[in-house]
Symmetry: C2
Subunit: 375 residues, 2 copies
Amino acid sequence: MNQRPSATGISYADAGVDSDRAESALAGLLTSVRPTFALRQGHGRPLLPIGAFANVLDLGDGKGLAISTDGVGTKALVAQMLGKYDTIGIDCVAMNANDIICVGAEPIAMTDYLAVAVPDAALFTEIGKGLLEGARQAEISIPGGEVAQIGEMIRGAEGGQAFDLVGTCVGTVPTDRILTGQDIRPGDVVLGLASSGVHSNGLSLAREAFFKRAGLKVTDMAPGLERTVGEELLEPTVIYVRFAMDALRSGIPVKAFVHVTSGGFLNLARVTAAVGFDIEALPEAPLVFRLIQEMGNVSDAEMFHVFNMGIGLCVVAPPESASPLRALAEKHGRHATVLGHATADAERVVRVLPVGLEGRGSRFIRAGSAGAKSV
Amino acid sequence: MNQRPSATGISYADAGVDSDRAESALAGLLTSVRPTFALRQGHGRPLLPIGAFANVLDLGDGKGLAISTDGVGTKALVAQMLGKYDTIGIDCVAMNANDIICVGAEPIAMTDYLAVAVPDAALFTEIGKGLLEGARQAEISIPGGEVAQIGEMIRGAEGGQAFDLVGTCVGTVPTDRILTGQDIRPGDVVLGLASSGVHSNGLSLAREAFFKRAGLKVTDMAPGLERTVGEELLEPTVIYVRFAMDALRSGIPVKAFVHVTSGGFLNLARVTAAVGFDIEALPEAPLVFRLIQEMGNVSDAEMFHVFNMGIGLCVVAPPESASPLRALAEKHGRHATVLGHATADAERVVRVLPVGLEGRGSRFIRAGSAGAKSV
């Protein structure tokens, strides 16, 4: 996985996702969203800032309500290309419930928003199956939702059934047990739990690489994999809820759960303690990532920024927790490895040493290089 | 507003929203969603069935959490046609917060989901303004949200900025004060609070009538109105939160709040008491509805099924509450009128007597006519 900074290498922006532009636009939105925090000073007050994996609302009597919203993004297009709709609901639950555990909360429910061009019983039934399976794995209910028939606003993959699928998950956490990595100290270890593949991030780049650059079809066998490209990309996102709840209940000291989504290991820098992180050892990235990188001629920096690279959840904990947490992860069917540790770095740099990357803010750059835009 | 059942009259289905088909498809989704209720039997248990305006989760110690999800639908297209994005956020808050009050809960927060083709700072800033104004009116925070850049999945009005905007609102209610109309008795009155226009329902039909049938442009003056068609359709949805909270705190007996959205007065039949409703007196429908009906040659049954027809919120209360509730509504700047009363009817028929309609389940039909599909 060497960096290949060639003129033909593709980036997330080339694939239709311009993170820099999105961040700039987001600033405009936040100008108005931030002042809403002052609108609830007592009951219901948001306890965390914008940018946490989930916020927590103060319900009084020491009770906190965690809330987070996320969608499945263009993984919906892969489902459409394959005509397979029975697992995308798992992704929807996963993307949301995995965020809820990252504030130390127990997910209890998720509402779903399903936007379609044409309401189709077969499509809805299949999507429902995934939602139910996701709900089972996350041990939540789906107490309500919304179906929007907005044919003029939505479009899909050719020949597929256009839809968008979004969830909002809520969970509960005692306000004195909100976990945001506030107690992380240099030397605490970073444990990484295996992902099942691309999860629900970076699908635009993956599709660009497989389908546009390499010219593969969704039904083509993925080179070196024992299934089609579509099946590989559609592999459901792992739901880490049971593991995380078990970890919290077990009493094994844990300082942070970090859902590895867009931004990859830079998500580690979202912990509230002013520390950096060194990732010193990485399991070999699953083949799907190597294929994407090769077919799309994608740089390491872009790969590590866009994809989870094989690690779907990081746990930051005191060194002595590493062994019992690994055992617990294995019990839940997830391989876990010690990836590195927290460092004394108030600038919160995340270094991925095996590939010579370091990240600040929202960007990875080659270690030692400079560039205002990238920092 | 006579019914004009001509061959050229348009229906919601003609306008791209097939309610019958949507219901059939929804059944497929609910097959999987309903079993999720059993996944949370203790903490977090959903206390209401699917179909309530919002569900309420049991948080223990008598605390309930109301949750509801809704989007702005194709009102987003009107915003795009007009290039005016600073009020659609109000609609997003309104559609959600108004549902939360219908279980007797106090809205505390809403997360937003903003899907765009291209993240644009100006667009986001304007949308944020509406969200902030909506949050002010509903007295909630927006503690988090999600921006999705999904250009391949979303499309917009010609020349406009494609986006979809969805919210999930949460609120709190003591579990022994959940209000679902369970205590409504025949003779209780239905008070109607004025809407500001079409709110966020039926925009597909309204656009069909104005822009396709009548050939008007969004910037054309609406006949008889002192502003353009686009401005009229984009008028923000009324947020009834302060009125409802004032009513609950005042001690004036209230038996149900009913948000008049898709389905119109049929939303009255969503109360849990097995009663029917007679709407006996209606304020004249605002001009916008008369224009839509005339330009689209739309039947009364379809109009009353798709639009709020001038009433955005119904309050069901004992007769002696009517006068103080009207005064309270006026104090909050909303005209309110007594529309009718609850009837002893276990079949839950909603009759709109001024226009000779009666509705059961999800459909209005001409009083006296039959038809299995419509019943």
